[in-house]
Amino acid sequence: MVRRPRLSRTVLAVAAVCAALLSGCDGRLLEKLFTPPPGPTPIRIGLLHSQTGTMAISETGLRDAEELALLEIDAAGGLLGHPVEAVIEDGRSRSADIFPRRARKLLSEDKVFALFGGWTSDSRKAMAPIIAEAKSLLFYAVQYEGNECAEGVIYTGSTPNQQILPALDWFLGDAGGRRRRFYLIGSDYVYPRTANYVARKYLASKGVEVVGEAYVPLGSHDFRRPIAELRGTNPDVVLSTINGDSNVDFYAELAKQGVGPDELPVVATSIGENEIRSLLPSQVAGQWVLANYFQSIDTPANRAFVDAFRSEFGLDRVTDDPMESAYVAVKLWKLGVERAGTTDPQTVLAALSKGASIEGPGGTVRFDPRTRHLAKKFRLGLVREDRQIAVVHESPEPIEPDPYPAFAFPGWRCDWTQGPPVAGAPIDLSAGSTPGR
């Protein structure tokens, strides 16, 4: 009678000790006691490029360049006292479905503060509405066709007036051999069609003939017929807006049909050192490339960039124009975050809009708050035997971006400092086109 309550207390005491130890076994108690305080939360950004599929040949390099910029930021102590972490997704070369789905996932689930992604204009156009809806930022690093000023998109690649039009001028002039018969060939999607529309309008304004125009499906590997048709029009220069690994087959087929650069020079907008590595020198040496940056630029900033890239990703890796733009894009975002003192996308954009310039590997680039593009130099290059590209001509100063050249897009205007873009007359991209035979 006397011992019973004592027994209960003892059993309870032992049970309590056991429960305490068992709860420790489960980890909740001990985890709270012994887990060290968390370090600074990483700032997350999204990298969304095609790492598989037809565009992987081009886009993987952008991912690597962006990773390099992030590694450099972290090595220098991070951003606002935080490390920067990349959440990487694969667009799988599927602009219409995968790109917007992954962009939405990065913004809503991974909570990234900015997105760096895309190559094809289709992928950019698919992501832009999602960026605008989320009031976030998309840094798009590839040369493109213009005709766009999307909300929340920062374009670090070039517009036609910074790449295609200066090249056309050069080929129309004495230095370029006073060419008069242009043939336009491209992959069949929005960039080549719009870029060729701009080129066609520009050449028409100069009284120059476009002898033919042809499009092949993106990812196409059979160029026998397109090249035969192209030769049938007897052009004296070809402007190529072919994208992705189709370029490899295009140049290989040209070589196979015995069409060399002396007989018919090809001027390409969407090929660089990264794509050329997949070709044999005999297939591509002597052909022309339009860009704002080439790996061969001999400046201390570029040598440092190339060396850093190679030591991180392999001694035989190459850098090219979109990769440099992607690297610059991350550095530009970093500058915006530092100036804003926050990662909030709209505040970062406002900070950049007060004026910003970056000393990139290809030279100084300046952020244009009106168009949210970069002012940058034009460079024309010739592919060498070692598959590097020699600079033949460059603009003396950076060229201001113009996404809506008046001769091609009358009435259209982009000036974010005054308000949203103004729409002009409807544009018919096929107007004045001459189908290839």
Partner: protein
């Protein structure tokens, strides 16, 4: 099992485990023993009964701990074998692609390097946090896509290509096995039984009729040993985590070889 244990240094974890058991044993000897013994009647033969029960219990508990230790060690050894197989098949794959004609050789080398770099620099640190790395899938797919685009032009190239594809499959299988073993560990229920058994052992020791000093010494000794055994099992439980874990060392020579290619 709790995950924080892998984030503390080994010696701290070992000291913590043994220390917790010793503390529990001593607290029981000081506070619970004076209450428990009178409850059981305080007969002079109680030591014999407790000793008999403890010896039976000890056999079963020892078997449990022994088997768990062996299972944890075998799991570690098996995973070590998987990682070694994966690394050697990756090295073989690297040799195979070196025989391809240009420009395929360079393209495949770059893609394999990209993958290997990811394994060493990003996947391994994630595994050490108990996270199954996902970025390797994309890189493997990119490599496979490029490999499948190659069109052999000669009989020798056909043989070489077939062998590379076979080696790729061997590699892929080993890789899947490695990823599956990232989350492999002793089930939580088993840990409850282990801890319950340890507590029962120590409670039984409290029932011996001995001086307090003997209790503190002998009970503390047993508690320290139990703590050490449990530490050993816990530390080996996940092959990629903690001080006793597999490193990316087998992949590092392949990466440096690829980097300089």
């Amino acid at each position: 099992m709790v995950s924080w244990i892998f984030d503390v240094p080994t010696w701290e974890f070992a000291a913590l485990t043994s220390g917790a058991f010793i503390l529990f044993s001593w607290l029981g000897a000081i506070f619970a023993r004076p209450i428990l013994r009178p409850l059981l009647g305080g007969r002079s033969s109680l030591n014999d009964i407790v000793g008999y029960i403890l010896s039976i219990f000890g056999v079963f508990y020892g078997l449990l701990l022994g088997l768990l230790a062996v299972a944890a060690y075998q799991g570690y050894g098996t995973t070590q074998g998987i990682v070694a197989k994966e690394a050697s098949s990756l090295a073989a794959l690297r040799r195979d692609i070196a025989a391809y004609p240009e420009p395929e050789r360079q393209n495949l080398t770059w893609l394999l390097r990209d993958y290997t770099r990811y394994v060493v620099k990003q996947a391994w640190p994630l595994q050490q946090k108990g996270i199954v790395p996902k970025g390797g899938d994309v890189r493997m797919t990119a490599f496979q896509e490029r490999l499948l685009r190659f069109q052999p032009m000669t009989a020798a190239e056909e043989v070489m290509h077939a062998e590379t594809l076979r080696q790729f499959n061997v590699y892929y299988e080993a890789r899947r096995m490695r990823l599956q073993s990232v989350g492999t560990s002793i089930p939580g229920t088993m840990w409850y039984v282990v801890f319950l058994g340890a507590i029962a052992n120590l409670v039984l020791v409290w029932l011996f009729d001995m001086s307090l000093l003997s209790h503190l010494f002998l009970g503390g000794l047993l508690a320290a040993f139990l703590g050490a055994m449990i530490f050993l099992i816990a530390d080996m439980d996940n092959p990629f985590r903690g001080a006793v874990s597999l490193s990316a060392a087998p992949f590092e020579p392949i990466l440096s070889d690829l980097m300089e290619d």
